[in-house]
């Protein structure tokens, strides 16, 4: 019997955004690239997101945010991830995130931040090349 290995991704929307067009487009692109993509829906708390990462045992977490609350929500998410021992999950983010916030977000463990207009192929390649190889 062959052992199948699928990349599992959670696309999550923390905070109070009222639309999720971008998140769904990314989710769809990753699905069409052969990955299993779980979507949380809108208005999730950091606790809900991290708990979902844990229960779904995903390899990758993609955070989408438009509200401007990323400097409050992302550190909380990363802190909870650490607390739960989810250090091997690849985390990336997208949405409306000003350039000057990027270094700080990378410092807390968010591997890449994709702004508006990023080609979908860039995101697919990034996930493929960086998804951890879990046993």
């Amino acid at each position: 019997m062959s052992s199948e290995r699928k990349i599992r991704v959670l696309i999550a929307k923390p905070g109070l955004d009222s639309h999720d067009r971008g998140a769904k487009i990314v989710a769809r692109a990753l699905r069409d690239a052969g990955m299993e993509v779980i979507y949380t829906g809108l208005r999730q708390t950091p606790e809900q997101i991290v708990e979902t990462v844990l229960q779904e045992d995903v390899d990758v977490l993609g955070l989408s945010i438009l509200s401007g609350a990323h400097m409050a929500l992302f550190p909380r998410i990363m802190e909870l991830m650490k607390k739960k021992g989810l250090n091997d999950v690849l985390v990336f983010a997208g949405g409306i995130i000003p350039e000057e916030d990027v270094p700080q977000l990378k410092k807390i463990g968010i591997k890449e931040i994709f702004g508006p207009g990023t080609p979908l192929q860039t995101i697919i390649d990034f996930v493929r090349n960086n998804a951890p190889r879990k046993a």
Binding site: R31, D32, G34, E36, I38, E51, T52, L54, Q55
Partner: protein, 320 residues
């Protein structure tokens, strides 16, 4: 990586991380998957397993959210396995069932896992049964298994669930058409969801009438319930009926049903093992490809080839 024994112990202790890892291991069907199931098996058999099936758009996920809520109110712990289809072309999947259940993401006594079918027909993933065993061993009282939007042939849920709930809704075209033949026969409970919509009563009448046509006298007559999952209407009664059916199964009828289940399970396991053994052996002796070519060239048909191989294998086994 922790040892399998530690992982199994974690599952039995109800540790969420261990449960999640165990299901991944089973989904990926690694060498260790079978060993893990063996370790967990003695701890299974306590949960009541409820299958939720029905056409896409009938409101299965929303109904499950309300079911979790009612079960929690009654102090039960809950596991959920929600299935969505994989693309036969890319192998990718979009798993969106849990969007409606996120309210319970942080409930310590609820574990929700999304599974892709990974292109196994039948409405649930191949790994579902073993994933159910993981949640069972972890001590969940009730395990809810949601199938992909099912039409007629997605009846594999009966191999997994004790109680099968078939959900339909008015206005999905011809309601009876959508649940005819196979899926109609597997129901222990029928639920007409979205019962606040027009034509709901008509759909219930139609369904009841067609059930009357089933001449066969059955000890359990599947009830037809009306729910409005969005508002929670009818959910309490649905949970009552689920436990009613559970009690019915425990009274004897269940024993024969469970026995039949285990028989099927065992036969499936034997088939799998025997096929693996024989095919591995053919490959090792490098005759497998030769055989494939013979069949391709129409020198022999697959059934005769299989008969011959099985006969040979049995013969050599007798000699040993």
């Amino acid at each position: 990586m922790r040892s399998l024994e530690q992982l199994a112990q974690g599952v039995v202790n109800g540790d969420k991380r261990s449960i999640a890892r165990a299901i991944t291991l089973i989904e990926n069907n690694g060498e260790d998957a079978q060993k893990l199931v063996s370790l967990l098996y003695p701890y299974t058999g306590k949960a009541h397993i409820v299958g939720i099936t029905g056409p896409g758009g009938s409101g299965k996920s929303t109904l499950i959210e309300k079911l979790i809520s009612e079960l929690r109110r009654r102090g039960k712990t809950v596991g959920v396995l929600a299935t969505d289809p994989s693309s036969p072309f890319t192998g990718g999947a979009f798993l969106g069932d849990r969007i409606r259940m996120q309210r319970f993401a942080t409930d310590e006594e609820v574990f929700i896992r999304s599974m892709a079918t990974r292109n196994v027909p039948g409405g649930i993933a191949k790994a579902t049964k073993d994933a159910v065993n993981v949640l069972d061993a972890a001590g969940k009282d009730v395990i809810i298994v949601e199938t992909v939007g099912a039409g007629q042939a997605e009846v594999d849920i009966i191999k997994v669930a004790h109680t099968v709930v078939v959900v339909f809704a008015p206005g999905l075209g011809d309601e009876i058409q959508a649940i005819k033949a196979g899926i109609m026969e597997i129901a222990d409970i029928f639920v007409l969801n979205k019962a606040d919509l027009e034509n709901a009563n008509r759909a219930v009448t139609d369904l009841k009438a067609s059930l009357e046509l089933n001449a066969q006298e059955k000890a359990w007559k599947p009830p037809v319930l009306k729910t409005v999952a969005l508002t929670g209407e009818g959910i309490e009664q649905l949970v009552n009926e689920i436990f009613e059916h559970k009690a019915f199964l425990e009274k004897g009828e269940g024993a024969s049903k469970r026995r039949k289940w285990v028989e099927t399970e065992l036969v499936e396991a034997i088939k799998q093992k025997v096929a693996d053994l024989i095919v591995d052996d053919l490959k090792k002796r490098k005759v497998f490809n030769e055989l494939v070519e013979k069949v391709m060239n129409r020198q022999v048909d697959p059934y005769s080839a299989a008969s011959k191989i099985v006969a040979e294998t049995l013969l050599s086994a007798k000699k040993d």
